[in-house]
Amino acid sequence: MTHPGVEAIAEHLEGTLDQAEDQRVREHLRSCAECTDRADALSALPGLLRTAGEAPVMPEHLARRVDDAIADEARRRAEVPAPVAAAAAMAQPARAEKPAAAGGDATPPPVADLDVRRRRLRRMLAGGLLAAAAATVVAVGLGDMLRTSEQQAAEGAGSGAPPSAESLLQPEGRRGASDTAPGAQQAPSAAALPLVPAGLIADVAAAHDPQRPGHERRDCVASALGSDAARTGASYAVKLPGGAGSGGPTPGVVLLRPNDAPTQAVLVACSPRPRVLDRRGLGQ
């Protein structure tokens, strides 16, 4: 009697043989102790593999390699300019001081080493703090012309109480006493803020004429928005790109940097975390 090959027995056990061959193997096994023993051994293999396969925890130095590669990707994607990186680094302490405004975010990160990674990132970005302190930070308010609050309330419903643009700007210590804005005392919800139109920064760049005496970028922001109501220190809402299902606009700010900085305007969303939406050079 010809024994079926070990592969045929394995396939029989897995149920992948065609009907005729499966029948042949089954009948053979009924009368052959040797092949039955082989079938038992095959059946024991998954258990053997399971036990042998228990992998040790990923070594820390290798895990760090992958973590760093991911962090590099995130950095490359954001192309984080210094003032925004600094703002991001400062946003969390600022929120910790204002737990009510932060919406009670007391949940620790799920994995401890994540915290370490963020600390490392923050340390690395700490140099950006100086640049941020030197930068002129202007947040632009829009006044009344963009959207009705009803429209925004409809879009912004359910966005909770994200950290306000104010908490992002506060640590700068650059806002003068005259830089008051509606809603500056409390964390404004996105629904209460005017919505920034797409293309704002491009419009500002187009409008800015550095040759004109006294022509400032701030004026251009105002004119690009079709309003002269631009005020420093105000927040507005930012419609997040690609945010289908994420709710409506979230609070944001525009940061303008001095003329000598390569990137002079940064559009930042403040929720769920500060992040760059757009950055452009303004007024060549």
Partner: protein
């Protein structure tokens, strides 16, 4: 922070983390990776056998997943998709090494026969059952190895493994069966320590079967 759709345990779901990542959240993808790191690591390590290679593949995979996250359509679980990216990265790495070394393909019958010889139990080396199993696994063609790592070692269902390997469930089963058949002669000495290790325990002729199922 305020989460648009907080799950019951207060932690964002995998899908939510991935969506945040696509929306620009710089930390979401790192969080997602941390959550599944050990499982993905196990698959890469057991597929490739070498920790440095496994870390390389895992890194390639996570960078690819980071960039391609926008194309994830949600027709499988996020973890399944992550595994699939890792599985592909492992395959790529093996192919690159194969080209570089100009080695014969591992599923070359001649080479397969050589590798199928059971490892000699060296008393000085104290070859353990575990190392024997892992060494035998490494001798398998990559496709069979991947199927066995996912199904037998890591315990994924055939259906899940099929999604991860991007093939039919029947193909996964067939690869598992053939892989086990190839492992058996290398590991049978574990069950019969008295049998001389350098004598192939199986003398049955190769079956005559038509059709390559994998």
């Amino acid at each position: 922070m305020a989460s648009p759709a907080p799950p019951t345990d207060g932690r964002p779901t995998d899908a939510e983390l991935l969506r945040r990542h696509v929306d620009g959240d710089p930390d979401a993808f790192g969080d997602l990776f941390s959550r599944h790191r050990e499982r993905l690591w196990a698959v890469a390590l057991r597929t490739l056998g070498d920790p440095d290679n496994a870390a390389d593949a895992l890194q390639d995979a996570m960078v690819a997943a980071f960039r391609r996250a926008g194309s994830f359509r949600g027709d499988s679980a996020v973890t399944t998709w992550l595994h699939r990216v890792v599985v592909n990265a492992c395959l790529d790495l093996v192919r690159r090494q194969r080209v570089r070394a100009a080695e014969p393909l591992p599923d070359d019958p001649d080479r397969g026969h050589v590798l199928a010889s059971p490892p000699e139990p060296d008393p000085a080396e104290q070859l353990t059952e575990r190392t024997a199993v892992l060494a035998a696994l490494r001798s398998l063609p990559i496709e069979q190895r991947q199927a066995l790592v996912l199904v037998d070692m890591e315990g994924y269902s055939v259906a899940e493994a099929a999604q991860m390997l991007d093939c039919a469930a029947g193909t996964v089963k067939s690869r598992c069966a053939r892989g086990r058949a190839r492992l058996l002669p290398q590991l049978e000495w574990l069950r019969n320590p008295d049998r001389p290790a350098d004598v192939p325990p199986l003398d049955a002729p190769e079956p005559t079967r038509g059709g390559d199922l994998s």
